[in-house]
């Protein structure tokens, strides 16, 4: 990582931090559990890094890294799918007023 890259990475980090603060402090306590599972699912984006590692073979890639990458893919995918499914499930339970009444 070159020095210019790390500086832009710091910009992205700083902006994302501010934005995270602004956006998340507006989530009402009512939705804090879905928020947690949603952010879990979203941070499963590290999948993107694992995929590249798990997919590398040949002389320039190590078997060990591939195996680690594979496990990482499984873990991240579990989080992504599980997180989104559960969030959806929870959000579907939140109703303003009952339908039957």
């Amino acid at each position: 990582m070159s020095p210019t890259n790390i500086i832009t990475a710091l910009y992205v980090f700083a902006l994302a931090a501010f934005l995270g603060y602004q956006v998340i402090s507006r989530v009402p306590p009512l939705l804090h559990t879905p928020l947690m599972s949603a952010t879990n699912a979203i941070s499963g984006i590290s999948l993107v890094g694992s995929i590249v590692i798990a997919g590398g073979t040949g002389p320039h890639h190590s078997k060990v890294a591939m195996v680690l990458g594979f496990i990482a893919v499984v873990c991240s995918t579990t989080n992504v799918v599980g997180g989104f499914v559960i969030t959806d499930r929870m959000l579907r339970m939140f109703k303003r007023r009952e339908t039957k009444k």
Binding site: I6, A9, V12, L19, Y21, T33, S43, I51, C75, G82
Partner: protein, 466 residues
């Protein structure tokens, strides 16, 4: 740069934007579902983009991994009951942090074993990588212990011994020392694996001494670590979407842990190192005495049936008794009789942030009946009956009235302002703080003993005959 690279980069940019929009959607239950669909779409785009990456030579293991993970995730997603949400969340923090740690280890391995040019492993990169691996590892084991405590596999009581904090701090210092050494000597393989091992151990030791009722705070904190580990991965790989998603996750956990602590009027340090809820603190404040007035099921049923406004205040006990459906049934019966029913939800009621709301929503309580602390308190003086269900600390008037109480300053739901209070609990059991609750001795309060679910179910019948 060829078109694939452009496509990948734009899929990541799009994903970042959609993630942010998705979280913005969560500011209201009406927009939350649409927001989540956006985030899901963003995730899909990012994955499709990644699959085009030129470094990928074989898709076999990727596809196997994706399928395996999806199956596991979907199974968990569909079958985990709402009451087990805290465990599920702890487990998913462990998974996320583990993935981040593994990616870091794989990268390190590739650099030090000649698969990637060692010259590229500068101090900055090693720093980010070490951060990722350390945070990832300790969060993995810490979350597993939290999972164990919440699931009841690991004892929920704080495990404390003399010199614990000093021992843990020394361990952490050694780990960080190795980390700093590695920044300057990235090729020091042995210190690397020692650091890795110590970080795993530290995670265990960090969470073991914390009481299970404090797990929500710990969980939020681990959430924040897991997110930061992902963000560090982004720094290592030079990938902005990882930085953004990780930072959002990290901040979300951080904000939630702050909110939890504020709702208990305790500091993070106290939660992490105070071993609150252990035998030592449980003996405090034994002074208060008086008589508790027991009331009969039928008395309560009549009171409720002829009230015009009833507020339910559920606590930790409702969650453990899984009485959410029973309280909803009681509310149904009351509403049919024209009683106005509301729920007052304290931020730390339940077993994780916002948990009580989800439990009640699952039992079909419309969210327009769920009131936050600040919203319900002004309503209580015009309430005929407040029904406290398995809550104790969150309605303890000492927090408001007695400045020398250990929980002084903690915001409470002030049920003692309503015309009558009924407390549903099993016996003389104390709350998590181990403190006596003067509410139970007030003349306005009647105690109705028994398991919350049982009592509520019986009350449904009693009200119907009232």
């Amino acid at each position: 740069m060829n078109w694939q690279t452009y496509f990948i980069e734009f899929s990541y940019l799009l994903a970042s934007i959609l993630f942010i929009l998705g979280l913005k959607g969560l500011s209201h239950p009406e927009t939350a579902k649409r927001g989540m669909h956006m985030a899901e779409f963003g995730m899909m785009m990012a994955i499709i983009g990644t699959l085009m990456h030129f470094e990928i030579v074989s898709y076999t293991w990727i596809i196997v991994g994706l399928l395996l993970g999806s199956t596991l995730g979907a199974a968990m997603g569909v079958w985990v009951p709402m009451t087990a949400m805290p465990q599920r969340t702890a487990l998913s923090h462990a998974f996320g942090a583990f993935a981040a740690a593994l990616v870091g280890i794989a990268e390190y391995y590739s650099y030090t074993h000649g698969f990637k040019p060692l010259a590229e492993l500068g101090q900055v990169k090693m720093g980010a990588m070490g951060f990722e691996i350390m945070l990832g590892s300790l969060t993995t084991t810490g979350s597993l212990i939290a999972f164990g405590k919440l699931q009841g596999i690991v004892p929920g009581k704080p495990l404390v011994y003399r010199g614990q904090n000093i021992f843990n701090m020394t361990l952490l210092a050694v780990t960080i020392g190795l980390f700093i050494y590695l920044i300057f000597v990235p090729t020091a393989v042995i210190p690397f694996y020692v650091m890795l091992g110590l970080a795993f151990v530290f995670g265990v030791l960090l969470v073991l001494p914390i009481g299970s009722a404090d797990m929500p705070v710990v969980m939020s904190l681990l959430n924040s670590y897991a997110g930061l580990a992902s963000a560090a991965t982004g720094f290592v790989l030079g990938n902005n979407v990882l930085i953004i998603a990780g930072t959002l996750d990290g901040f979300s956990g951080f904000i939630l842990s702050i909110l939890m602590c504020r709702a208990m009027n305790r500091s993070i340090t106290n939660v992490l190192f105070g071993a609150f809820g252990s035998a030592a603190t449980a003996t405090a404040g034994e002074g208060e005495q008086g008589t508790m007035r027991e009331v009969s099921m039928d008395d309560v049923a009549v009171q409720l049936a002829y009230a015009s406004k009833v507020v339910f205040v559920p606590g930790y006990g409702l969650a453990t008794a899984q009485a959410q459906h029973a309280v909803r049934e009681l509310a149904n019966v009351l509403e049919e009789r024209g009683v106005i029913v509301k729920y007052g939800i304290h931020p730390v009621a339940g077993r994780m942030p916002g948990h009580m709301n989800v439990l009640l929503a699952e039992a079909n309580v419309p969210y327009s009946q769920l009131y936050e602390l600040e919203q319900i308190n002004p309503e209580l003086s015009s309430t005929d009956v407040s029904v406290v269900i398995g809550a104790n600390d969150v309605v303890n008037p000492d927090a408001r009235d007695n400045p020398s109480s250990p929980i002084a300053g903690m915001p409470i739901i002030e049920v003692d302002r309503s015309k009558s209070v009924i407390v549903l609990k099993r016996g003389q059991g104390k709350g998590f703080s181990g403190l006596e609750n003067p509410l139970f001795f007030k003349p306005v309060t009647g105690m109705l003993y028994g398991d919350a679910k049982d009592t509520l179910t019986k009350l449904v019948g009693a009200v119907q005959h009232a």
